[in-house]
Subunit: 369 residues, 2 copies
């Protein structure tokens, strides 16, 4: 079984939709937020805590895992799920973005990418086929093809080149045989409407299991990203899941759900968590700040996570001030709960044709302070 996507309901008043995605390692409800476990661990959050928060899928990064611990180790462990002890679905990102943002001295040709590891400077050459081979060895449920990311801003000429290469690489990736793994394609084209349209149309013709919108959250203004999603999502087929890569903050996710996006991933909950910023139903709070010295309430009174059920803002502030690991753990865990709970409420609202009201209520409260 590669993948089965059931579109369960479309909101009557927006393009928001709820669905169920069946993958080799289980089912997931969409719209879904995927906690990011780049190196095979969602930073400062235990696997059992992800389960407890309701995570149905996590994202790992093929580039990082290829460099450390290396694919041979994970193969010997019996695949990525076993290696990291996460039995539910995993999406692996190809590492296209990381090669372009982290690796040193990269040289991109149509054949593939030569780069130096950002860890030890060791030289590697990877073709799109290699990258699928890596993910095949990892055994992830959803596989992303190698793509060429461009920075923002980027000339149209450069954007077209990267787009052509991304399409070509997606085709080559599709030619690699996969058994239980679903291959998505990534729509590139920077902020050029015609390129985005063309890229989406040409990839749809190739019939992938799902479609991602890539090359966003790379520094472009929010309205341009909104526009890109708008243009692309109407081209993508209704019966395939749509994944907006690397997005984002609660307001961004809720906006994109309204545009018909089904899947999200972002480092925000855990990165903010490690910095002591907690997401709450009444907005973000920076726990180190002095108003919390004597605040003995939970991070979010409406949250049922371990952090909120047991510890006060005052205590968590103390943990951050004294650089105690438990602080990172509690806020990261809470933020993951917050994001997953938001998704669950969004799905419920869509199913009841009241997504716009839900979004407004949620954001009014979230932005009130």
């Amino acid at each position: 079984m590669k993948m089965e996507f059931k579109l369960l309901h479309k909101d009557k008043h927006s393009r928001a939709r709820v669905g169920k995605l069946a993958l080799a390692h289980g089912e997931m409800d969409t719209p879904a937020f995927m906690p990011v476990g780049t190196q095979g661990t969602v930073k400062a959050v235990q696997q059992r805590e992800l389960t407890c928060a309701g995570a149905q899928i996590i994202l790992c990064n093929a580039y990082h895992l290829f460099l450390r611990p290396g694919i041979e180790v994970i193969k010997k462990a019996g695949g990525l799920h076993k290696f990291i002890s996460w039995p539910k679905p995993i999406l692996t990102d190809s590492g296209g973005y990381q090669v372009f943002s982290l690796a040193l001295l990269r040289k991109v040709t149509d054949e593939g990418v030569q780069f130096q590891s950002h860890i030890d400077g060791f030289k590697h050459f990877l073709t799109p086929e290699d990258v699928i081979g890596i993910q095949k060895a990892l055994g992830s449920d959803i596989v992303m093809p190698f793509d060429e990311c461009v920075h923002y801003p980027c000339s149209k000429e450069q954007a077209r080149l990267a787009m052509e290469r991304t399409i070509d690489w997606a085709r080559r990736s599709k030619a690699v045989e996969l058994a239980d793994q679903a291959l998505f394609a990534i729509v590139q084209g920077a902020t050029y409407d015609d390129l985005r349209r063309e890229c989406a149309e040409r990839l749809v013709e190739e019939d992938f299991s799902g479609y991602a919108i890539g090359g966003v959250s790379v520094g472009e203004p929010k309205n341009l990203r909104y526009n890109t999603v708008d243009i692309v999502s109407v081209i993508l087929p209704e019966d395939k899941p749509r994944y907006l890569m690397g997005v984002g903050l609660p307001e961004d996710i809720l906006g994109a759900i309204e545009q018909g996006v089904d899947m999200f991933d972002c480092v925000v909950p855990t990165r903010y968590g490690r910095n002591g910023t907690a997401f709450t139903s009444q907005g973000k709070i920076t726990i180190r700040n002095s108003p919390f010295i004597n605040d003995f309430t939970a991070l979010d009174a409406q949250c049922g996570c371990y952090a909120c059920k047991n510890f006060s803002r005052s205590y968590i502030r103390h943990l951050f001030n004294t650089e105690e690991v438990l602080g990172l753990e509690l806020v990261s865990m809470h933020n993951i709960h917050f994001f997953l709970n938001m998704m669950s409420r969004a799905r419920e609202a869509i199913a009841q044709d009241r997504y716009a009201e839900f979004k407004k209520e949620f954001l009014d409260k979230y932005n009130a302070k």
Copy 2:
């Protein structure tokens, strides 16, 4: 109820003993190991994980908590148990050791100690009465008096002065009224047999709830510490708990249990855990080492903790190599389990008059590699 200590059984072939200590926040079995939560958190271990590991008491440090977050915050929280969300017994160390090892520009007089905070350089003056007052506000189950620690080596003259002051301060501490909290005394005297004897005898005359052997693990050779414990423990009354401060490694704890010690605390399980050293039934392992690259067994096959039940040495090595917080969490949690499980097995062995066999078997296996 201040404290009730029941000596349940004495091993027929050694001075090892099992007992039960009833405190304001619950009972604990002795010999006991107290995980160290200096700043109100056992580093990288969650409170629910301590419970799961079988911790019946933890140690916190009055000096650290006095500096951060400050006693007023903890009072407003309703006491230390509520502030840190740990409903079971807490022993608070007075901070004598910390004032002498961490604080800047300290000046010790018979009246008390003037020092500068190691965090912000702020000047403080604390009398022994103040230190008991701080612990009264914290609401810990067992309170330690302020004592004067000396370094190793230390002249006899200096050791005598510190001992006299420690006895005087213990008396003054005893004069402070405490309701539900038990006050221990600390035996000092450096490595001088006659001073240790005299200090123990004079403190026993004063009738404290329990007795600690302090000023050990300060750099002295192991045989001198062994000797100190030997000398002091025969003087201490049978019907009061005996606490060897800051000890230690498994072999040290097992040795001191044989000498009749009931309580231990040490940062070793969590400090080693954060450095990637795991205690196992077959000795310590340094998880970063290359033999573990493809070792898919648990840290300790005989351990039932979350880390051992779910994750391999290979994965945990990867977490340390990539500096992921989960690595610290898993090894720290496991080490706490290891120490507490060792104590539980020691108690069982004493109850069955086979402590010497247990100790030999344990250490033979532990030291085999």
